[in-house]
Structure formats: C-alpha cells, structure tokens
C-alpha cells in the first residue's frame, strides 16, 4: 500500500512517514506543501492520502476539493489543529473520509489509516480470506488451510495488495506503483522475484495445493484464479482505483 503524506512540518512528516513505513509497512511519499501534494496526488497511485490542513502555497481544503473534482476516490485522512465542529463538518462535506485533531495519537493514526485503506478497497474486517487463504492485516500473518506461511515484508505487502483485488489482473506496474514510494527505482524484475517467492511459499505451505497466484505473461498477476465471482469474500467490487485499471489494461 502506498500513502501520500502532505505535511509542512518537517519533523512531524518524518515521524509520520517512519511510523507508516515501520508499522503497517506502507510506502510513503511526502509532499511539503499544498501544491506539491496536489501534484503528487495526480499520479493517482495512492491507497491513502494523509493531508494536513494548514499548508503553504495551497491549503489542504483546496487540495481535497481538487482531488474530488478529478473524481479521485482515494481515501483522505485529514490532520487538523483547528477546533470546532464547523470546520470538521466543512471538511467532511468537502470529501474527507476521516480526520484527526493535533496532537494525535500515533497508534490511532495508524489504525485509522489501515481502516481507511481497507474500507477504500471494500473490506470491513482486518482479516481477509479467500478460498483457503487467510491474511490478518493487523498481525501481518498469512495462513493457508490453518498453516502459517512465513513471508518476507515485501512478499507480504504484495499479497496484501493482491488479496484486496481477487480475480483481477494486477499489472506489474500497478504493483510497483502501490508498493514502492517515489524514491524507489522501479525495476519490474524485482517484483517478479518477489511474486515468484510468494507463490512458492504459499503453494509449499500445504500438500498438493492449487496454485493461488497466477502469472499472466505480459499482463500481470491474478490471485485466486479459480474463485467464482460470487465466492469473493470482500463483498464490494473495487471502485477506488478506476483510473489505475483503465490505464493498466
């Protein structure tokens, strides 16, 4: 998962980015002012935007309004130092999904960030399961038919992204965009290695398991190819990343 952090206070941004990377293992991009935030958000490759309100150059409200005007449905978590329900109502009405008042609790921020990403992808519960595969996003553990599967952080992140979009072909480019931040050099063969390791570990966990990650040469990867549409656990189809899909396919 990739998060855009728009925050002008350098030290706060450093701490937030570190927490988001260390805790849930998100890729984090940091924009120090409103204009940069707006520019970054146009890439539409984020699963969550953490947005401060008092920003130089362009305030958070404007960034939010522009985002929604582009029909971008990326979840937005607003950080505000302002009191008063009026500004919060205005924020929520402008398209914010949630807010936190400064000074906030870092644990709460991480929990809300995870919940917003989950909701944005149509999942209500932090534990996702598909066929015989179960992913607990809180503990970051993976089980197949009850057997724990030991994954590297990157492999886990790949699986976490894929399990939110079962049966959908996810391109390598999409995976790269959502798993790595701006500073990372995009080498598609890195992804290939991680995916093949992931597939091997998942299939080796139980005897004579069906391959659960399918590689579609030149197009991308697909989780749970054998799953019928109506067996899908995450109830709602993904609507949050319409733009990604159009571009990738």
């Amino acid at each position: 998962m990739r998060v855009l952090l728009v925050e002008d206070e350098v030290r706060l941004a450093e701490n937030l980015a570190a927490a988001l990377r260390d805790g849930p293992g998100f890729a984090v991009d940091w924009a120090a002012d409103g204009e940069a935030g707006d520019e970054f958000a146009r890439n539409a490759c984020y699963d969550l935007i953490v947005l401060d309100l008092m920003l130089p150059r362009m305030d958070g409200q404007t960034v939010l309004k522009r985002l929604r005007a582009r029909r971008d449905a990326t979840p937005v978590l607003v950080l505000t130092a302002k009191d008063g329900s009026e500004s919060i109502i205005a924020l929520l009405n402008a398209g914010a999904d949630d807010y936190l008042a400064k000074p906030f609790d870092l644990g709460e921020l991480l929990a809300r960030a995870k919940a917003l990403i989950r909701r944005g992808k149509g999942a209500a519960h932090p534990t996702l399961s598909i066929l015989d595969l179960e992913v607990n996003t809180l503990e970051q553990t993976v089980r197949r038919r009850g057997t724990a599967v030991d994954l590297s952080p990157t492999e886990y992140r790949v699986l976490e992204y894929l399990i939110h979009r079962p049966r959908v072909i996810v391109s390598k480019r999409e995976l790269l965009e959502h798993l790595y931040d701006y500073n990372w050099e995009h080498h598609s063969n890195v992804i290939e290695v991680h995916v093949s390791n992931l597939r091997r570990k998942l299939d080796a966990a139980v005897p004579d398991a069906e391959p659960i990650v399918e590689t579609m040469r030149g197009r991308g990867y697909r989780l749970a190819p054998g799953l019928a549409w109506d067996q899908q656990t995450p109830a709602a189809p993904d609507t949050g990343h319409r733009l990604d899909m159009e571009r990738d396919q």
Partner: protein, 514 residues
C-alpha cells in the same frame, strides 16, 4: 400567614426608581419647562391683577367725576336775595347705593343723599401731609378733587371730594360765581369683584395650560429622544461575537448625537480590528503549539512502537530533545511578543539602553553562528557600531538585545556561504538608525507586506528547517513600535536574481530625559 413585613422592599424600590427618574434627562427637562411655565403663570396673574385694578379704578374715577358733575348740574339758584344756591334733588338720578353731599363756600350744607353716613371714618387716599386728614366742608379740596376712603355700614366706599363752580343769575348784573364742594361716593365692592374675576380667569387659564402642556411636553420629549433610544438599542446589540454596528440614520442626522455616534463607530471598529487580530493570533498560536506538541508526541510514540537498538533509542532521544528545544523557543518567542506588545504601565520609569553597546554585544555573540554559516559580518565584533560611541534609546535592555539579535539572525540565516551581512549604526540629532542588510535571495514583492505578520513565513518548507518560529520580525516590530520608532524592510523588487538581498532599517528616537 407569616408575619414577615412584605412591603419592606416596596418603598425602597420606588425611591430608587424616583432617583432614576430624577436623573433622567427627560424628567429634568420636563421639570424645568414646567417650573418656567409656573413662574410665568404667577407673573401673568400678578400683572393682570395690577392691570385690571388700574383699568377698573380709572374707569371708576371717571365715573365718579361724571356723577359728581351731574350733582353739580343740580345746584341751582336759590332765588333768594343773597343769590344763594340750593341743591335740587328732584331731578337727580343716581344709583341708590351711591352717596353724596354738597356744601357751599360758607360751609352750609346744601344737600346730601339720604344714606349719607357722615364723614367720621373717612380717610383721604392722597399721599403727603394731608393723608389721614378728616374730610368735610372745612378746607378747600384740590382743583382736580381728592379721593376719600369711607366705610358705610361695613361696605367700603370711595368718595370724590371736588370743587365745582356755578354762575348764579347770569341775567342780572353779570351773575355771581358760587363755589360748592361736592362729595360723591360709590361702593368699590363690585370693582374688586370684577378684578378678582379677571385674575381668576388668568389663574385658571394658566393652570389649565400647565396641565395640558405637561403631558404634551413629556410626549414631545419622548418623541424627540427617539434617536437616542434607537442608538442605545443598537449599541446594546453589539457584542464580542457580533461587532456589526450601523448607527440609525436618525442618530447620525441629530447634531447632538452625531459626535457620539461617530465616536462609537470608530471605537468599535478599532476594537473589532484588534479583536480579530488577537483571535487570529490565538488561533495561529494554537496551531503552532499543537503542531509542536504533535511532533513531540509522535516522536516518542514512534520510538516506543517497537523494540529498537540502543543507538536507535539514542538517536530518537536526541530528536525528542531537539523537538523540545523548538517548543521551548516557540513559547519563549510568544512570551517575548506578548511582553513587547503589552502597554507599559503608567508611571513606570522610561527604559534606557545604549544601542551601540547592544549592537556590539550581539554581533560578538553571533560571530560563532556567522562562522558556522561561513558568513562575514561587516564591520565585525567590536567595530560593529561604527563611529557611534553611544546612542541611548528608550528600549528595555533585554528587548534591545532581542531586537538586534532577531534581525541579525534573520540576515545570517538567509545568507549563502561566503556572503557578507552589513551592519550600520548612525546617530543623527535625535534619531538612531540601524541598517542590517544581507546578500540572500531577498523577499518576493508579494510577501513583503506580510513579513511582519505573526507566524508568517516567506517559504515555510525552508524556514521551518532553519528552526524559525515565524515570530522574530513580529517581535522586532512590536519592540520598535513600543519605543516610538519605525522598522521597514526592503528587497529590490526589480530583479529576481539570487543574491539581491534584503535590507532592514530601524529608526529609534534618541533617549531624552524629558
């Protein structure tokens, strides 16, 4: 049921309201107008009394003369050898209550009215030596006659005593001139009656006028004071949350209320402006403080999120300490600003500090910072104050240091390595001028008007890195303003070339003991 005195409070309340009423302008005006009216009514009654008395008594006088003349007409030749005269009373028609008496020059009574009471109690009304002399046939009355006051059976009479001449038997040897003395009186009671009637008319009229004008004046005053009440009602609606005050047109058009209205308006506008500023400052300050606290809190929580190595803890603690120092400097700056902006208590001794010494001290203090940033201060250290030995300005010593160090630090922080920061101090007759210029990137023209605003940052992403709180220039301005000086900032707007620099000029009035 109970025997507590329930009416105890009532008289006090009415007394209080009476006091309030007495203080009201309307009440005082009504009382004043009614008092004037009452006074004029009394005057009118007194004047009318005098006038009526005069008129009536004059008419009475004329009437007495006329009647006396008709009595004289009744004096006839007695047809006796001595050519005496007699009074023929047969044809005499006078009101029955009148009295008369006629004497001839020899003191012989010619005739009198049947109700003549005698002159025993008669008194002359004339002034002078004759006053009080009993009237009678004796003595000649003055040519125009004299007035006597008499009392007839308890009724006051006024009696005219006059001399009349009559030529008897003009046919024979040229006739003979006979002189008679006539006394003619008439009761005065009806006179007084008429006068009293007239005076009563005026008095009753005045009272009626008072009764009518009292409420009328009250009503007119109530109407006339309407603009004042409207103004008061609108002014009462102004509150901390609703500053809007548009005085009624009636108050604006009233010459007496216009200055008050104007004063109210301007005071409210100034109050609102400072209130809005204050509110903005509190909001900004809250934002800054909350952000600073959020930084600290998140630093600590990040550190405790998972097990870390000793080195990681060490680095984390150092970051937390740095965050605390930033919070500390923010709080210190906010307090300094509050102190610099607060008014000096009246009667406090005028502060005094040597600006030249202050500049030398600050430049020496910041030389390490300058060296660290590879910036040269010109002239350096001890020579920083230039040719000026001492110049006293009325700034508290700690504020002076804050002012100079804020400006110099700003210049140092915005200077690239290898640049020069120039410090110039000059003193003219009564003005000390401090100019600090750097060779930094300058300030964009659109930001120049805002640089003295609290928490304003020209380029936030950068100045936050340098640790500025956004209050330095605001503090400098507050200090300079308090001392009655000026501060201005200039950055050549024409070029956008880097290195065009910024110049801050401070002028402060030289301290005078007066």
């Amino acid at each position: 049921m109970t025997d507590r005195p329930p009416l105890q409070a009532a008289p006090r309340a009415s007394g209080f309201s009476r006091l309030l009423l007495r203080r009201s302008i309307a009440f005082r005006l009504i009382v004043a107008v009614l008092a004037v009216e009452l006074l004029s009514a009394v005057l009118v009654v007194a004047l009318s009394f005098g006038y009526e008395r005069h008129i009536h008594f004059r008419a009475f006088d004329v009437m007495l003369h006329g009647r006396a003349d008709s009595i004289l007409g009744a004096v006839q030749d007695a047809e006796d050898p001595d050519d005496h005269v007699m009074l023929d009373q047969n044809d005499l028609r006078v009101p029955p209550e009148d009295i008369y008496e006629v004497w001839d020059e020899e003191g012989k009574l010619l005739g009198r009215s049947p109700n003549w009471p005698g002159t025993a109690n008669a008194k002359t009304t004339e002034t002078g030596a004759e006053k009080g002399r009993p009237p009678g046939p004796s003595g000649a009355p003055p040519p125009r006659g004299e007035m006597l006051r008499m009392d007839v059976n308890g009724t006051p009479y006024l009696v005219l005593r006059m001399r009349g001449s009559r030529t008897v038997d003009p046919g024979e040897h040229g006739g003979k001139l006979r002189t008679v003395t006539i006394l003619y009186g008439s009761p005065t009671s009806h006179l007084w009656h008429a006068i009293r009637g007239a005076v009563e008319f005026y008095a009753v009229g005045s009272v009626v006028l008072l009764l009518v004008t009292g409420p009328l004046i009250a009503w007119l005053l109530h109407r006339g004071l309407l603009p004042l009440r409207q103004l008061a009602a609108l002014a009462a609606r102004v509150s901390v949350d609703a500053w809007h005050f548009s005085p009624p047109a009636s108050a604006r058009a009233t010459p007496e209320l216009a200055p008050l209205t104007h004063a109210l308006e301007s005071v409210l506008q100034r109050l609102e402006r400072s209130f809005v500023q204050q509110r903005a400052f509190v909001s900004d300050a809250a934002h800054e403080l909350k952000t600073a606290v959020a930084v600290q809190k998140s630093s600590l929580q990040l550190l405790s999120m998972k097990r870390r190595s000793a080195q990681e803890y060490q680095a984390g603690l150092e970051r937390c300490l740095a965050d605390s120092l930033r919070l500390e400097s923010l709080v210190a700056d906010m307090l300094a600003l509050a102190r610099a902006e607060s008014a000096t208590p009246e009667g406090a001794p005028q502060p005094r500090v040597d600006l030249a010494a202050c500049v030398r001290h600050v430049v020496a203090q910041l030389e390490t910072v300058a060296a660290l940033r590879q910036v040269r201060v010109d002239p350096p250290g001890i020579a920083a104050a230039g040719a000026v030995e001492t110049v006293n300005v009325s700034v508290p010593p700690e504020d002076c240091g804050l002012l100079v160090s804020n400006l110099l630090l700003n210049a140092l922080q915005h200077s690239p390595a290898g640049a020069v920061v120039e410090v110039q101090l000059t003193a003219e007759d009564d003005l000390a001028r401090l100019v600090i210029s750097d060779q930094g990137d300058g300030i964009p023209a659109e930001a120049l008007p805002h640089v003295f605003d609290r928490f304003y940052r020209g380029d936030p992403s950068r100045t936050r890195n340098t640790g500025g709180t956004g209050l330095g220039l605001a503090i400098a301005r507050a200090i300079v303003n308090k001392a009655g000086g000026t501060i201005s900032i200039a950055s050549p707007a024409a070029s956008n070339l880097p290195g065009r620099g910024t110049t801050v000029t401070v002028t402060l009035p030289v301290f005078s003991a007066a």
